[in-house]
């Protein structure tokens, strides 16, 4: 197998652009998905079954159907419905956010429920409302425990963002496929893309481990 480095070098600027968009898509989606996920997680935990049900089904839907289907639905269905025409980047961010929100909702729920019931009781016995107890007592403690699974979700999101290539959002994988199409080569584009994904996910894991260690000693 001869590996033609000069082709990789030639495509370098595109891979760079693609990498930046991959990072952008993942960052935007983890942020939006995080906020959305918190509300969906809280919604699912409400005592009233009827209120909790739609949140439960949101989670069921987004965890139980392929992300690929969700991206196509959002790109060709949902976005045109709201904007008239579609936009690959917006569609990708929307689909990835909605999808990760379902997983993050479960992370929040597990984190919140892992905090001892006595904490809520102590807060409530002091006269705090349910919301105050959540905000000042439960969430700060739960958040610490959520960092490892949230970090995992972020890693998954970086990898899953490659599916945005399907709707021609010009992220990393899009340029990989473009390069394959142009030169009819398999190893150069896909190994380069794989290497870049690996650098992204490994650096993220490294940062997360350091963050965890810092929080643990606090």
């Amino acid at each position: 197998m001869d590996f033609r480095w000069e082709l990789v070098a030639e495509y370098g600027p595109f891979f760079l652009k693609g990498t930046l968009l991959t990072i952008g898509l993942s960052l935007a989606s983890i942020l939006i998905g995080g906020i959305l996920g918190l509300f969906i997680g809280l919604g699912k935990m409400t005592k009233r079954k009827l209120v909790a049900l739609p949140f439960q089904w949101y989670i069921n839907f987004f965890r139980g159907t392929p992300l690929m289907v969700q991206i196509l639905l959002v790109h060709f269905g949902v976005v045109p419905l709201f904007m008239g025409t579609t936009n690959a980047i917006i569609a990708a961010i929307m689909a990835l956010s909605l999808n990760s929100a379902a997983y993050i909702a479960e992370i929040f729920r597990a984190g919140i429920q892992s905090i001892d019931k006595g904490q809520t009781e102590a807060a409530r016995s002091l006269g705090m409302t349910r919301g105050q107890a959540m905000r000042y007592v439960i969430l700060p403690q739960a958040f610490k425990r959520m960092i490892p699974p949230l970090g995992n979700e972020f890693v998954v999101l970086i990898k899953d963002s490659s599916l945005a290539a399907l709707v021609a959002a010009p992220e990393l994988m899009y340029w990989g496929r473009a390069m394959q199409g142009q030169y009819m080569r398999a190893w150069e584009p896909y190994l380069t893309a794989a290497a870049i994904y690996l650098v992204l996910t490994l650096s993220l894991s490294f940062l997360l481990t350091r963050l965890e260690r810092r929080l643990a000693t606090e």
Binding site: Q119, A122, A123, S125, G127, M128, Q141
Partner: protein, 240 residues
């Protein structure tokens, strides 16, 4: 001050409290004793609605807390509670534990809340621990902080659920000492405990609970020296 009328509480089909009637007068110290599983904790937790009440009424200073129109958060600020497991907030320092509720619930300014908190820490003998996290405290110290935290809301009533049961024996004394001091200052208290010495010395009245009912009640002297009911005698012979 506290009036419990025909209180019943069930968990599913399990009726844990069966018609409890109790009156607690201002400044009175009522001690609740009884075997494990008899419903003591549940009774105490019904007084500030940590448990939903199945039937009956609980009145705190004349306000019926079972009435859905009652603002339970408001009532709870008047009723402090101390738990067997302390339940300090581990992510906050000792002084922050104490300041949190006054600042968020009563909207006391931080500076004032801190001063008040320091006064309370001095009272429980822990002013030098203000800036540490609960993790580094002994059990007895944690429980004293928990008492100070409850007192910071300036409650009119204090509920204690086996406050010394999770402590090593050598730390029981320091917590009981703080509670005795509180009683002396005229705090209205309901205390679930196995410390019969404390009940004798500080209690105005002792309730003996078994199987979800109050089997017998009386002054510590009456109840300990002259129990009328067989069940009380049997229980006392085991613990005294």
């Amino acid at each position: 001050m506290i009036e419990v009328r025909q209180l019943k509480k069930s968990f599913g089909h399990n009726e844990v409290l069966k018609e409890i009637n109790v009156m607690v007068q201002p400044q009175e110290v009522v001690v609740v004793i009884g075997p494990s599983g008899s419903g003591k904790s549940t009774f105490l937790r019904c007084i500030n609605m940590l448990e939903t009440i199945t039937a009956g009424h609980v009145l705190i200073e004349g306000i019926d807390i079972t009435d859905t129109k009652t603002n339970i958060n408001q009532v709870r600020t008047e009723v402090g509670m101390v738990f067997q497991q302390f339940n300090l907030f581990p992510h906050k320092t000792v002084i922050e534990n104490i300041m949190l509720a006054p600042m968020k619930v009563r909207r006391v300014p931080a500076k004032e809340a801190r001063e008040k908190g320091m006064t309370l820490l001095r009272k429980v003998g822990l002013e030098n621990k203000a800036e540490v996290y609960p993790d580094s405290l002994s059990g007895g110290q944690k429980q004293r902080v928990a008492i100070a935290r409850a007192l910071a809301m300036e409650p009119k009533i204090m509920l204690f659920d086996e406050p010394t049961s999770a402590l090593d024996p050598e730390m029981v004394g320091e917590v009981l000492e703080v509670m005795k001091q509180l009683a002396k200052e005229g705090m209205t208290m309901v205390v679930v405990t196995h410390e019969m010495g404390f009940a004798r010395e500080v209690g105005d009245r002792v309730l003996f609970m078994d199987g979800g009912v109050i089997v017998e009640e009386g002054s510590p002297k009456e109840l300990f020296e002259n129990p009328k009911e067989e069940r009380t005698k049997a229980f006392l012979s085991k613990v005294l």
